[in-house]
Amino acid sequence: MKNGQKTGRMTWKKGLRSFRFHFFAILFGIIMIYPLVWMVASSLKPNDEVFTTVTSLIPSRFVWQNYVEGWQSTGRYTYATYFSNSLFIAVLSTIGGVASSSLVAYGFARIPFKGRKVFFTILMGTMLLPVQVLMIPQYVIFQKLRWINTYLPIIVPQFCGVPFFIFLNMQFMRGVPRELDEAAEIDGCGWLRTYTNILLPLSKPSLITSSIFAFYWSWQEFLGPLIYLNKPKKYTVSIALKMFADPSVQTNWSGLFAMTTLSIIPVVAVFMFFQKYLVEGVATTGLKA
């Protein structure tokens, strides 16, 4: 009898604690995603309501036309141009960055060459290097190469490997048993075949994680396009949004918010599909999105 009462009280207490936890967790969650919800809501409101019913998250009527008008944009080009430019850069940067980083990672992780330690230290050091030190001399160099207003300054450096991805793939390859390499060597595989036949297929998870981050970073990249692209025809989505967000020029706010919403959809979609890889990647290497 007494015992039953006690367990009864315990479950009640446990229930209260669990209720309190979920209450605050949900409240905090609402605060965290509020800016995003506000953006989507504002993108569907009639333009004159965006700032008059600013706290309302439900539009008085759903104006899907905002997306059409926003897409047309006020400039000479539509967002079709900007989105395809961004996609072009993101796809090439991702392929180049991930492929080269995997190669370099294999060299550092498996081949005992002279000077490996020194170069690895330099590799880690470059991660601490602020981009501000490089942006001006790089601009001058790319200007002399006549690369301004092309995507080359943004894409080509990716093909030389990205320190974060090199590190990520190295960490992963270190976890692959060396016996597999040795077995391949006995079968007559050289370094290259050991890489293509053993390490490359086995490091699929770290390749996927690096691809996701490579895509994010290039999709949201701001400084490079800002410096190197000054013809509207070449603008990426980020630059176009920045140009049209000037309060003295912009009047169609709901149209602009429609486009900011579209600009984050690829990011959220990739996240939904590859959540598992992403969360693991962040947790194990400390990569920041």
Partner: protein, 309 residues
Amino acid sequence: MNVVIAAKKTTLTAGAKRRLLKNNLAGYAFIAPWLFGLLAFTSIPMLYSLYLSFTKYDALGAPVWTGVQNYVTMFQDATFWQSVGVTFKYVFILVPLRLATALGVAMILATKHRGIGLYRTVYYIPSLLGGSVAIAIIWAQLFGSQGAINGMLSQLLGRTVNFNWVGERSSALYSLILLGCWHFGSSMLIFISGLKQIPQNYYEAALIDGASAPQRFFRITLPMLSPVIFFNLVMGIITAFKSFSESLIITDGGPLNSTMLFALYIYKQGFSYFKMGYACAMSWVLLMIIAVFSIFIFGSSTGWVHYEE
């Protein structure tokens, strides 16, 4: 007998030597793309930047050697000092605040409840969109004088509030700090995985010894997490020192340079005023500041970072 051994020894060395050479060749072949990038896109630009920092250069004519003039100008440039001050304030409020939030939320999410995965996802999503132009635009509108924040405050207080949070000197920098804090998610994920690696029996033993919750936190959780905290601290400080796109889009350094982060000031000097030599000189000062802090944190780490044996 001796001769045979000697002969065998030389052939072995010859074989080993060939193997060594082969390894070296293969190693450099694999890291070649990165080596090329290091040379072309990092080392040469860095040296060039160092040279430019001693010149007057407007990107059109040839650089004119002016010695240490840029560095002297910097010391007399009030905006330079202001931007350094703003940057320090930004970094030293944002980084601890974000780390504390990340750790606090991670500790709550490390408990056993249903739906943890969903909460973790929701709290992490802002980090994904962290640096995007879209979010910066939204932030400027949310905290503008007609924004949703004022809308809610007006309803709450029962009177019209139209304070421009991003446009007033007293609050603009804090609105940027808040945006930085909003993406605590990636640090949170790292903390959660760090917390999961702490052996549960440490806490059990502490409970038996009658340790209080704060004692358990300061004596077990913090020391065990210190390598993770260390990593987050280093990366957080470096990224905060470099950050500039949010201030460029949301406040453009204003009002009255109150959000003129150092990295933004360098960008403006270089690409708005085309004082590229001056901008290079300032970028080297930024590099020095980051280097000093990195050395300081790495140096102090032996005192407070505990690695499991």
